[in-house]
Amino acid sequence: MQKKRILVVEDAAYMRDMLSEMLEQAERSYEVVGFAVNGKEAVEKYKELKPDIVTMDLVMEVMDGIQAIRGIKKDDPNALIIVISALGTPEQKKAALDAGAGEYLWKPFTIKNLFDALEKLLGKRKDERGSAT
């Protein structure tokens, strides 16, 4: 199975590091292909890297996560985006999902939580594809 290429969008360096390390733990499944520190950069990087999955923080400078999701989805409606944020009220979750995010992971989370969420996200795409074909 091909490794899933992941773009990590996160303004906090320690979170970027942690996510990289967590994803490395499943090196046969996931590969971090790039980082973005804000939404604007995320949209640009997405176009450039065409990753399979984007992990998206919501609170960022320059452009926030919701806008970035919209930007990416505009470019690629099939983009798979998982929001990883400390925000987590039902309203905030709904806003993110409405913008086009496929999953929502609320900080703090365990490595298991992360993998479960990613698998769920991928499973959804499979379902979509399955239903499409």
């Binding site: 390390e21 400390a86 925000l87 900080k107 989370f109 298991k112």
Partner: protein
């Protein structure tokens, strides 16, 4: 008369001729001058009696004869002339006397004719009765009146005229005794034996020596008067009947204070005193009362006055008016109206008025009375204070002068509607006081029933308004601050969660590393603490959301045994650690609710029970499906430390902690129960607790099965 005259004339002529012949015979034939002249006095006397002064002519004629006869005999002497003069003088004197007498007789005759005329033509019946009771005179009116003609009664007894046969003598006796009788009432019988009411006046007739010879009686038919009198009497009886039946006391008092009549009401009140002297019996006085109006009333005046009776402590309204009977005798009619009750009410009214005046005057609200919606007619002390005007200045002032221009129309409309009873009781407006200062007042305008006036009560709320504004400002500031705080907290909760992410994340990664026994223990503690911290943050976040009303229920069918089982399972590590036993009695009931929130309710209550129950304690979860009420009743009982009674009502309050001291049991912010309360409330249920300190607590909640 002519005959009589002729007769007298012949006698006189014969006597004169006889005297003449005698004179010629004695003088010429016998030439004697003897005194024969005495015979001359016979014709002179006769002429004097019959023809009065004309006797002088006879005397002169005889004197001439005497002188003629005596002259040839030359005996013409002084004596002859003297005798002649005596003839004339005697004739004159006799003539004069006769004339006077004749005059007197003439007069007498005239008077008699006159009296006869009066008697004859009198409308009153006049009869003359002699001392024996025999009728001597009977006039025309008497004929008409009695039916007897003059011829029928003259010379007969007067007894038959009277209904009472003794009446005639009785009248005679009275007339003899008193010399007369006036307006004596009797009943006479006419020729048809019909009784006729008569008023009789009589006078005693005497002869020239003063000896009584009879009576003259004048009678008048007074049938009409008597009938009238009877009618009047009847009316008076009717009047008495009316007076008797009146609710007011009535009495009639004569001029000399004698009680002539008392009606029943008065007799009942004062006792029967007819015939007594009023001031003696009613007032125990020896003289008339100083307030007595008798004299005034007797003059024909009607008076009305009030009298306070000290005897029975009552007040009477007295109406006193003159009353004249048929005889013209004046009495005083007095009507006593007992007005004690009215007086008492008047006094009470006065007292009440005084009371209300005092209340009005000393009320701490400014009060004024407005006439016809225009003029202020009355104001109290507080109104003076509010307006800055003196009472004299206020009273008569226009009501609108106290209203600020901008509020004028509004207040006038309000007053108008209040009069119609339509507007709400209260109206706020700007009040203009004497120095032009504007005061904010709250006004109540109430129409006074039955008069086109209303009472306005004004409360100066200027200060209150100012404080209200201040309060509003403060409130706005606080709301703003609260909003800022909430926004800040939202950010703060986010920022607090962020550093938790690497802690939890790396800890979870550490689990995958090979760790020593100690390492594993430390890692466990880190993970536990991080979870506890996360929970606290979550609760705070949830309450913040509740406060900002952002919480909505997402309803679905919730199967209660499943929820309970999930919660119990999730909490198992903690119960195991404390060696506690959880037993559940849950029927298979499904309710319409927000599953996540129902779970949170159970979770918070159960974890609370675990937290405050010692190791080895017991926790019972009982759910009752109440069909009749259409709800479920849940009880979570523990065998923990319990809650002191005084804290029970407050434990569901936000941030409330039973123990805030440093020695308290740590690990709680007192938010769990608040969330429970809010969630139950959102579902339309209620939550409460009972506890026995040291023995355990029971938490209950009720939740309807359908929303």
């Amino acid at each position: 008369m002519i005959k009589g005259l002729n007769y007298r004339f012949f006698i006189l002529l014969s006597t004169v001729l006889a005297c003449t012949i005698l004179a010629f015979f004695v003088g010429f034939i016998k030439n004697e001058t003897i005194v024969y002249t005495h015979s001359f006095y016979a014709p002179i006397l006769l002429a004097g009696v019959w023809y009065r002064k004309k006797a002088i002519y006879i005397a002169l004629f005889l004197s001439i004869i005497y002188i003629l006869v005596t002259y040839p005999l030359a005996h013409l002497s002084i004596d002859v002339f003297a005798r002649s003069a005596i003839f004339v003088a005697v004739a004159y004197v006799i003539g004069l006397v006769s004339e006077e007498r004749a005059k007197g007789e003439e007069k007498l005759k005239e008077t008699k004719d006159y009296l006869d005329n009066i008697i004859t033509s009198s409308v009153d019946a006049i009869a003359v009765v002699d001392m024996d009771g025999i009728v001597r005179s009977w006039n025309k009116a008497a004929e008409d009146y009695m039916g007897y003609t003059e011829a029928e009664v003259i010379g007969t007894s007067n007894k038959k005229f009277f209904a009472d046969p003794e009446e005639g003598e009785k009248i005679m006796r009275i007339v003899q005794r008193d010399g007369g009788l006036k307006n004596y009432r009797t009943t006479v019988l006419n020729k048809d034996k019909k009784p006729v009411h008569t008023s009789m006046s009589a006078a005693l007739l005497r002869d020239k020596n003063g000896v009584p010879i009879g009576t003259v009686r004048m009678s008048r038919d007074i049938t009409k008067e008597v009938e009238l009198e009877e009618k009047i009497k009847e009316e008076r009886d009717n009047l008495n009947l009316i007076l008797e039946s009146m609710d007011d006391g009535v009495y009639i008092v004569s001029k000399d204070y004698k009680v002539e009549f008392m009606n029943k009401v008065l007799i009942d009140t004062l006792g029967y005193h007819v015939g007594d002297i009023c001031y003696k019996v009613f007032h125990n006085r020896d003289d008339s009362c100083p307030l007595c109006k008798n004299a005034e009333v007797m003059k024909g005046k009607t008076v009305r006055w009030e009298w306070d009776s000290r005897r029975n402590n009552k007040t009477y309204d007295l109406f006193e008016t003159p009353l004249k009977d048929i005889k013209g005798t004046m009495s005083k009619l007095t009507i006593f109206r007992d007005i004690s009750e009215r007086k008492r009410m008047e006094n009470e009214l006065r007292d009440a008025e005084e009371r209300y005046r005092v209340i009005f005057e000393h009320a701490l609200t400014a009060l004024c009375v407005i006439e016809h919606g225009e003029v202020v007619s009355l104001a109290n002390k507080e109104f003076e204070t509010l307006s800055g005007y003196s009472r004299e200045e206020i009273e008569g002032k226009k009501w609108i002068d106290f209203i600020a221009d901008e509020d004028m129309d509004r207040v006038q409309n309000y007053c108008e509607e209040r009069r119609k009873g339509e507007a709400p009781a209260c109206c706020e407006f700007k009040f203009v006081s004497s120095n032009g200062e504007i005061k904010q007042v709250n006004a109540w305008i109430e129409p006074i029933p039955g008069a086109n006036r209303c009472i306005a009560s004004l409360l100066d709320i200027t200060e209150l308004k100012r404080k209200e504004d201040e309060l509003r400002e403060t409130c706005e500031k606080l709301t703003e601050l609260d909003k800022m705080k909430r926004e800040f907290l939202n950010v703060a909760y986010h920022e607090m969660r962020s550093p938790l992410a690497p802690i939890v994340g790396y800890a979870s990664m550490l689990e995958r590393c090979e760790l020593s026994g100690k390492g594993k223990k430390y890692l466990y503690i880190i993970e536990q603490s991080a979870r506890e911290l996360e929970k606290m943050i979550n609760r705070m976040l949830e309450l913040a959301r509740i406060d900002s009303k952002k919480i909505e229920l997402s309803l679905e069918g919730v199967y209660i045994p499943e929820v309970v089982a999930e919660v119990v399972k999730g909490i198992e590590p903690e119960t195991k650690e404390k060696k506690q036993v959880i037993s559940t009695v849950v029927p298979g009931v499904k309710i319409q609710a927000d599953k996540q929130k129902v779970g949170a309710i159970f979770y918070n209550l159960i974890s609370n029970a675990i937290k405050y129950t010692e190791e080895g304690g017991k926790i019972d979860i009982m759910v009752v499906d109440r069909e009749r009420e259409g709800d479920i009743r849940v009880c979570i009982a523990d065998t923990g430390i319990g809650i002191p009674e005084e804290h029970l009502p407050k434990i569901f309050e936000r941030f409330y902690m039973v123990d805030t001291s440093l020695t308290r049991k740590s690990g709680s912010l007192g938010l769990g129960l608040s969330i429970v309360k809010e969630y139950v409330k959102l579902h339309g249920g209620k939550v409460w607790a009972t506890s026995e300190f040291g023995k355990g607590s029971k938490f209950f909640f009720i939740m309807p099965k359908r929303q």
